[in-house]
Amino acid sequence: MFRGHSISRRLTLMNMAVSASALLLACAAFFAYDLYTFRANLERNRSIQAQIIGANTNAALAFDDATSAESTLSVLRASPNILAAAVYTPDGKLFAAYNRPGVVDSGPPPPIPAGEMQVVSMGISEMKLARLIVLDGKPTGIVYIRSDLLELQGRFLSYAGIVGLVLVASLLAAWLISSLSRQTISKPIVQLAGLANRVSREKNYGIRASQAAEQGEIATLIRSFNEMLEQIQQRDAALGKARDELERRVEQRTAQLAAANQELEAFSYSVSHDLRAPLRHIDGFSAVLSQKYGPTLDPAAQQYLGRIREGAKHMGHLIDDLLNMARIGRQEAIMKPTDTRTVVNVVIDALKPEYEGRHIDWRIKTLPTVECDSGLIKVVFANLLSNAVKYSRRKENATIEVGHFMEAGMPVIYVRDNGAGFEQTYADKLFGVFQRLHRTEDFEGTGVGLATVRRIIEKHGGRIWAQGKVDDGATFFFTLKPSGPGEVNHA
């Protein structure tokens, strides 16, 4: 009921409905009772009138004097509600009659049931009453009176008027009372609703509802609302503080990181420029010495010069590799779908000078398209394939296999050779910087390549591991993210 209206309007309407219905019920009950008693009185009055007429016309009936009876009946003229009156003989013949001017005769009276003294019939606009006239226990005639109900209707109308007036007055009163109660009931609720709206709109948790003086549910509601706002305000403040602190720390760390990065870059720039020059000089002057004064030096001195030059060149490679690794570490990976088979083909082609004159059985299986930085992945394959070429060079029939398989939805790419292999116990050490499992005189190298490879794979969110056996080859596995479901480039 009253859905969609404001609370104060609903309260007013409810008040008015309740008072109106209570008033209407009371009036209806009162009216019904009054009508009943009024009708009973009317019936009794007519009955008494009929008895009087009966008593006064007894003699006239006995002497068959209709004129006397008519004069008795004409007395009824004084009663304005009597429409007509008549006296009938016991056998139903009209003896005497009185009709108010303008009233139409309505025929004989209704029959009186045996054993009864009178019969009453109530119509909409008139009441008919027939009564036996009795003398010494014997019926001598019948009195028939018709009277209108104007009295009753008048009473009904005045009742309706009074009820209408009272109803209007009481509705007005109910409306007034509701309006007054709005101050105490609906107004605080409406204010609270407005405040809640404002709080949620302005995100201002510092606002408070004014406390009502009274006790009760509304006061509790306002208090709870204020307490809730207080809690939200506290939490908001705590959250804001935590966020500021976090931002400050992030800023601090970012600044530290930027400084460290800058330092690292400066360091690597300096290494790139300044550390290589002395090596060039060592190698250069050793070479000149060996060329110009070679004939005067004994073989041991020549050999030492060779060692000096080898050392300088190795140091040069170390510096290059380290700088390379540092550069890759700083570089941001730009991910895009890359066909690894194309990368492998390019790398194998570029490695040609490293395996010139050798027979290598290249087994390139199906390779996936993966989400990666193609430049960095090329470095991965260049290192792994160059290693495979290097460590298989003592084999008559070198075999290098590149392929992949799926594991838990991730492509695992592998590079396998049948070369020198390694001891599985030390497999983890392969990926450390400057970690080598072979002597430099057996297989040259700086121990930076696989560390760089691991760094790239980890940058891609992948994993790298190795399996090997001494003199029975090595296999390197790494995972990369697939670029799409089942996108495999078939060989």
């Binding site: 790139s272 290589r276 250069g284 060149k313």
Partner: protein, 146 residues
């Protein structure tokens, strides 16, 4: 000496590098006349006939060999100055340096370098590089008449 047509301006601060490079030039049979500047200021003074070279008649060398890490005025600044002066704008400049930092490469090319060579540690490779470089820029390559 003052008005002799200089064919190569070699800008390098490290005496050891100068000695080795000159040995390589000899080895490669490059006998072109060469002037050495030991820092950026000297290089620009010579090129633009300023300071101690104010009396020199301007004559553009056929090639400038430029190190990047130089005292006073850096190699990149020298390159920028060469490219901003209408007289030296078209001289081929080859950067000859230890570094192959991306930053140096990008900056050099942005400033209009003609070639960028990283000096190899291996002396034989160094000789070969100098020979190829000299042959290309002094024999094969053509420059507009000054």
């Amino acid at each position: 000496m003052l008005n002799e047509a200089i064919e190569i301006l070699y800008v390098e601060d490290d005496p050891a590098d100068i000695e080795l490079t000159l040995l390589s030039f000899q080895e490669a049979g490059l006998t072109n006349s060469l002037h050495i500047a030991r820092d950026g200021v000297e290089a620009l003074d010579f090129l633009l006939c300023r300071g101690p070279h104010a009396a020199r008649d301007f004559h553009a060398p056929r090639l400038v060999l430029l190190d990047l890490k130089l005292p006073k005025v850096s190699g990149l600044e020298v390159l920028q100055a060469i490219r901003s002066d209408p007289r030296t704008k078209t001289i081929p400049v080859v950067v000859l340096t230890s570094s192959r930092e991306q930053r140096d490469l990008i900056d050099s090319y942005k400033l209009g370098v003609n070639s960028y060579i990283q000096k190899p540690v291996d002396f034989e490779q160094f000789n070969q590089t100098i020979r190829q470089m000299g042959l290309y820029w002094l024999v094969v390559n053509k420059v507009p008449e000054s």
